[in-house]
Amino acid sequence: MTLPLAHLGHWLWIFYLLPVLIVVAGVLRSSWLERRNGRSRHREGRSR
């Protein structure tokens, strides 16, 4: 039986895109965490 891999080459770009997506996701997450921490620090400062 032959696996239908003839068109696999058309999808190789996904392997090049994945590292970019991982880094972008990491950047977005760290930005979101930073913003959340900033807001909570701001709230703490006001409550004092």
Binding site: L12, Y16, L17, P19, V20, V23, V27, G38
Partner: protein, 464 residues
């Protein structure tokens, strides 16, 4: 009609120890590790001051003195003349005519490589600058006063050079492109005529705005090669040759409007040249078929579809950079978007050089063999001359192994992007006095660098 193999897909990689896409993952890891190393060990800006030190005055006197300037200018004008003459009078076969290889390989690829190592070496050889200075000197002698000049519009900045750069590459990769069953080829006669038109345009602009003002902002080749020269540790200041901190020259290059467009034009034109016969081949052919079905002639449809994809590549690369800048703007204490856009453009210069090395390194090695053998002895390609006895020489394609080329390409891309990160990190330390904020702003530049690295490797893997 034959044509130069400018798509540089001359070799097919042999079996690599790991799949090509894994190199993109490895390169991304190198970038991430470099990023964290920078954030730990690089906590004050180092490139704002060049740390320039002059070399011996006698050396500057010999290398930069009037006799050397006249000699270099004369060589530049002579070579331009030879190129134009070969283009107009030589064979129509681009691979046998000196004009195409000389202009698009020896100069276009050679000057960036050597400028990055040795500084602005194009400046003394610039034929248009030499003619302009000679004409200006002649006018001063006859009229007894310097010619009147218009003030160069500040807002125009380097935009004429950016557009000229795109036009030059368009001539090579779109006007002379092949595809969709149509082989147009870059006619050397067109190259010769284009060089004459460009000469007339450049001299007119120099007459209007002054030789040095136009060379600094509008003259395509001065701006383009000069941009790479900013990476070099060698530079000239107040007529003295000296040494400065590596990469430090680039720090203030992009302050003139339009500089970001120049470096993005460089990146996008190299990317498009690589993608044209690889990643973009299918979509370009689809558009070509649609346009030819819509009634456009074959050549027009081919050029139109290539032009659209070239413009899209420019827009895409510009967009990735702007997304990075936008992200940095969200970090507390950030300067204005405009300041960020200008302030980080220089970090793309090493990447532009890396893309050039990665895409054209093998082409340069192969075509220079042609340049210094049969093209030099028979510049017109008519088989009528053998000036140096090398007209029967050829290109040895075995001089570089396919895998060696691939490793040079990967190394160039990784080193170029790490240097880009270094320049961006250094600039962030100027804009954010708190190094933690500076590091935080650079998460976005890291994403931009990883995107450009993976895109570059994808283009190379899909053409080689």
């Amino acid at each position: 009609m034959s044509y130069l193999p400018l798509a540089h897909a001359l070799l097919v990689k042999e079996d690599l120890p790991i799949p090509a896409w894994l190199f993109a993952w490895a390169a991304s890891i190198v970038l991430i590790a470099s990023f964290f190393a920078l954030s730990l060990a690089w906590r004050r800006p180092r490139f704002e001051q060049e740390g320039w030190r002059p070399w011996a005055a006698a050396l500057s006197k010999v290398l930069l003195g009037p006799p050397m300037q006249v000699l270099c200018g004369a060589i530049g004008v002579f070579l331009l003349g030879v190129g134009v003459y070969a283009g107009l009078e030589g064979t129509e076969a681009p691979d046998r005519n000196l004009a195409v290889t000389f202009l698009f390989v020896t100069c276009w690829i050679g000057f960036p490589f050597f400028s990055a190592l040795l500084g602005d070496i194009f400046r003394p050889f610039n034929p248009w600058r030499a003619i302009g200075r000679l004409a200006g000197g002649g006018f001063r002698l006859l009229a007894g006063q310097p010619a009147g000049r218009l003030r160069y519009p500040e807002r125009l900045g380097r935009w004429p050079a950016a557009l000229g750069l795109l036009a030059f590459v368009w001539l090579e990769v779109v006007y002379g492109s092949t595809g969709g069953g149509v082989a147009v080829g870059l006619d050397p006669h067109v190259v010769g005529r284009a060089a004459l038109y460009y000469t007339a345009y450049t001299l007119a602009m120099m007459a209007l705005f002054g030789v040095e003002a136009w060379c600094e902002r509008g003259e395509v080749f001065s701006v383009y090669f000069g941009m790479f020269a900013e990476l070099s540790p060698l530079s000239v200041k107040d007529g003295r040759l000296g040494r400065r901190r590596l990469l430090s020259g680039a720090a203030h290059w992009a302050t003139i409007p339009g500089s970001a467009a120049v470096v993005i034009a460089s990146l996008s034109s190299t990317s498009f040249d690589g993608a044209q016969e690889g990643a973009f081949k299918g979509p370009i052919e689809d558009l070509f078929n649609k346009l030819s079905d819509a009634g456009f002639g074959l050549v027009t449809a081919l050029r139109l579809s290539d032009t659209i994809f070239m413009a899209l590549t420019f827009a895409l690369i510009g967009l990735v950079y702007l997304v990075g800048v936008r992200g940095m703007g969200g970090v507390a204490g950030s300067p204005s978007q405009r300041k960020l856009r200008i302030g980080f453009a220089h970090s793309l210069i090493p990447i532009a050089l890396a893309y050039l090395v990665a895409h054209y390194f093998s082409l340069f090695v192969y075509q220079e063999q042609a340049q210094f053998t049969y093209l030099l002895s028979d510049p017109l390609g008519t088989a009528a001359t053998d000036l140096f006895g090398t007209a029967s020489g050829g290109v040895d394609y075995k001089v570089l192994g396919a895998n060696a080329v691939w490793y040079v390409q990967v190394a160039a891309l990784v080193i170029g992007h790490v240097l880009g990160l270094v320049l961006a990190h250094d600039r962030a330390l100027v804009y954010w006095s708190d190094y933690r904020k500076a590091t935080q702003s650079q998460y976005w530049m890291l994403a931009v660098m990883v995107a450009f690295t993976c895109f570059g490797l994808y283009l190379l893997s899909s053409t080689a």
